[in-house]
Amino acid sequence: MNPKPLNWTRHLLRVSVVVVLMHGLTIWAVPRLIMDRIIDLGTADSSLERANGVTLPPPTDHTQRRIVMPSPDLLYATCFFDLADGPIRVTLSTDYPRYWSIALYASTSDNFFIVNDRSAPEGRVDLTILPSSHDAATSKVQHHGTQVVISPTRRGMLLMRLLVNEDPAVRVSAEAARRSLRCSRDARRSAAV
C-alpha cells in the first residue's frame, strides 16, 4: 500500500510556527541565560574575595572578562541571591563622599531597584529583599525598620558601584565603603515566609 502523499501546506504552516516559536524563545532566553551565567560564575568563582556575603572583585582593568563593557572608573561589590531559601537582608553604612549606588537586578537582567548617595545622603541602607510571592503590605509590617523590596524573580544579584580615581586616599575610602556592605539571610525568615 502506498503511503498518503505529504500534505505540504500543513507542514509549511507547522514549520512557520516552529520558526516563530524558536525565534521568540531565543530572544526570551538570551538575557536569562546570560544572567544565570553571571550569577553561577560569581557564586562559584573561588578566586574572588568575599566578606559578609559580598563578593569583592579587584579594581576593573583589561583582565576583567566576566561582564561586558565594565567601567574602569568604578569599584564594584556584588551579592548573588536566591530567595528560595528565604529573604535577604542588605545593609550598608558609609560616609564615602563620592558617587555610589546599589542596584538590584532580576534574573531577567532588569534593574528593579536602586539607591544611591543622593537618595540615601546619610549613607545608611537597610533593605529586605523578598520574592514576588509575598504580600507587600504584610511584609512591611513583618520587616518593620527595613525597606522592603520585592524581587520579580527568585534569583538575582546586587551590584554596588563606587566612583573612584587614581588617588590612593579615594581608593582606601572606597574599599572601606564596599566592605561595609552586608548581604545575609534575614533572621526573621520564619516570620516572613
Binding site: 520558526v19 524558536m22 525565534h23 538570551v30 583589561h62 558617587y99 534593574n111 536602586i114
Partner: protein
C-alpha cells in the same frame, strides 16, 4: 517504493523541522548581533532609553544583555555608544581619533574605549577612559582627548586612551546624574565630536 517511503519521509520531515529550528534561532541571533540597538541619536552617538528598565521590550532586553548587561536606568545613568566617527566611518583600533566637546551637564561623565569584543583594550598604563577629572578644559571650556595606538606623546597623557591591535572599536559616553533637561531629551545633548586624525596604518 512503499518499503522505503516511510523512513525517507521521516528523515525528510526531521530535516525540514530541524531547519526550522535553526532558522528560528539563527534569525534571532542575527537580529540581536547585526541590528543596532534602537534608541535616540545624538551626533555619532546613540542612547537607548530603555537600558536596564523593566519597561524594555524583549528585543531591547536581549540586546542590552548581550552588549551592556547590568546597565542602569536613564534616571541614574545615560549610556551613549557609537562604533563610528562623525563621518560615519567605522571606528578602528589601529586608527587615531580626536574627541572634543563641552563637558556634558551631568554629575559625572566619562568616555571609555572598548575593543570589538566589548572588553577593555590591554595597556600597561591601565588607562581606559577619560572623564571630567582627567581632561583639561581650554579657554572656551571645551575638552579634548585622543584615542588610538600608543605613541611617544601618549605616555603620561591622561587624556589619551591607548588602543591595541586591529579591528573594530566601540566608545561609550556615560553620564551619571545627567541634568533633568538631558534626561528628558537625551537626543538634545551636545555630544563630543569624533574625528579621525591622519591616515590609518
Amino acid at each position: 517504493m512503499s518499503r522505503h517511503a516511510r523512513p525517507q519521509r521521516i528523515l525528510l520531515l526531521t530535516g525540514v523541522y530541524l531547519l526550522a529550528v535553526i532558522l528560528g534561532v539563527g534569525s534571532a541571533w542575527l537580529w540581536l548581533t547585526r541590528v543596532g540597538i534602537s534608541g535616540v541619536d545624538a551626533g555619532a552617538w546613540r542612547v537607548n532609553l530603555l537600558a536596564g528598565s523593566q519597561d524594555a521590550d524583549a528585543y531591547t532586553r536581549a540586546r542590552i544583555a548581550l552588549g551592556a548587561v547590568l546597565a542602569l536606568g536613564r534616571s541614574e545613568t545615560l549610556y551613549y555608544t557609537t562604533d563610528h566617527d562623525d563621518l560615519g566611518d567605522s571606528l578602528r583600533a589601529e586608527c587615531r581619533y580626536r574627541i572634543e566637546g563641552l563637558p556634558p551637564p551631568a554629575r559625572w561623565w566619562s568616555v571609555t574605549a572598548y575593543a570589538a569584543d566589548h572588553f577593555l583594550f590591554p595597556n600597561d598604563q591601565k588607562r581606559y577612559s577619560v572623564n571630567g577629572e582627567t581632561v583639561t578644559l581650554d579657554d572656551a571650556g571645551r575638552f579634548s582627548a585622543t584615542i588610538g595606538p600608543p605613541a611617544d606623546e601618549s605616555r603620561g597623557d591622561p587624556a589619551w586612551i591607548p588602543t591595541a591591535g586591529r579591528g573594530g572599536m566601540r566608545l561609550t559616553l556615560r553620564l551619571y546624574g545627567a541634568s533633568e533637561s538631558v534626561q528628558r531629551a537625551p537626543g538634545s545633548l551636545a555630544v563630543p565630536s569624533i574625528r579621525r586624525v591622519g591616515e590609518c596604518p
